[in-house]
């Protein structure tokens, strides 16, 4: 089972000689060619509190990747960094590869790859993120992407016109559009999130 506190405690104990040695180790793992280590290290690093120094280290040392864009965007909350993250968000086979790694790693920290969770969060206020999210859902073959459609359906209930327009603008499939609207209706009826 995913146990976030246990994972964080384990990470802390692993690096309890100094937090900087843990950060350094995770940054080293982000720089490996091993995609699993890269992915997991990125997720764990994103759970730590960031200093300016660590943010600078990520900018200077991390390889160009969705991981780097994600860490910088999430930790700096800088608009330019957020836009960069959105524009570089992987699609098609690249995204399927991330899903695959996340599953094979046992869904570390959370069920959905955190890059996707972050994009979903941004979609509430960013049209750029919303467009990207709809395109992701239009393309994905992931049976476990219902977490994302669930979030989009909840957003639909709050911003119906905006989401409807975005679905149309991005040529969302009839299946996807229907799925989101029917899920939204169900959420509304049952007063769920």
């Amino acid at each position: 089972m995913i146990n976030r506190p246990a994972i964080l405690i384990t990470l802390f104990l692993f690096g309890c000689s100094s937090e900087s040695s843990l950060e350094t180790r995770l940054l080293d793992l982000i720089n490996t060619n091993d995609s699993h280590s890269h992915h997991n290290a990125c997720i764990f690093l994103s759970e730590l509190s960031f200093s300016e120094r660590l943010l600078s280290d990520v900018k200077n040392r991390a390889p160009e990747s969705i991981c780097k864009h994600y860490l910088i965007a999430k930790k700096s909350n800088d608009k330019l960094a957020i836009d960069t993250f959105i524009k570089n968000f992987p699609m098609g086979q690249d995204l399927e590869h991330i899903w695959s790694i996340h599953r094979k790693s046992g869904y570390p920290i959370e069920f959905t790859p955190p890059y996707l969770t972050y994009l979903t969060k941004l979609a509430a206020s960013s049209d750029l993120a919303l467009d990207k999210l709809i395109n992701v859902l239009n393309q994905t073959k992931a049976a476990d992407s219902e977490n994302i459609t669930d979030s989009l359906a909840a957003l639909y209930n709050k911003q119906e016109n905006r989401i409807t327009n975005a679905l149309s603008k991005n040529n969302a499939s009839i299946n996807l559009t229907t799925f989101i609207k029917e899920t939204a209706e169900h959420l509304k009826r049952t007063n769920n999130e």
Binding site: R103, G106, K141, A143, E146, S151, T183
Partner: protein, 123 residues
């Protein structure tokens, strides 16, 4: 240990002598493909990171048992979970509310080494 089977015609997920009413699809690319799957017993997911799509509406439990196809397919991300929010799934096996609770209780009351590790999907 008994393996699981899922009959795509009648929608029953079977574990030994117990049958759990379920459905797979019709959303996305529909019902999961026929064949054998490995159940990732040690990678089961539980908790609030999961949205209402994975919620047992009777008990409010949210959980997901990952499945890995043992054959080549372009699809991925399959699992067994309560069929939450609107009825139907993107291909996962969604156990209906009336039966999800009893399945999950049995799962949790079964020692890890005795839990089924294989699922066969058949017509």
């Amino acid at each position: 240990m008994s393996d699981l089977t899922f009959n795509t015609r009648n929608g029953f997920l079977t574990w030994g002598a117990e049958h759990y009413k379920s459905m797979s699809g019709p959303f996305g690319e529909g019902t999961l493909p026929i064949g054998d799957y490995t159940i990732a017993v040690y990678n089961a997911v539980e908790g609030k990171g999961l949205k209402t799509a994975y919620q047992d509406t009777a008990t409010n439990d949210r959980w997901f048992l990952p499945l890995s196809p043992q054959f080549s397919t372009h699809r991925d991300g399959f699992g067994i979970h309560p069929d939450g929010n609107k009825p139907g799934t993107l291909g996962c096996i969604g156990i209906q509310a009336s039966d999800a609770g009893s399945f999950w209780r049995r799962w949790n009351n079964t020692p890890m080494t005795a839990r089924p590790t294989k699922l066969t999907v058949m017509k």
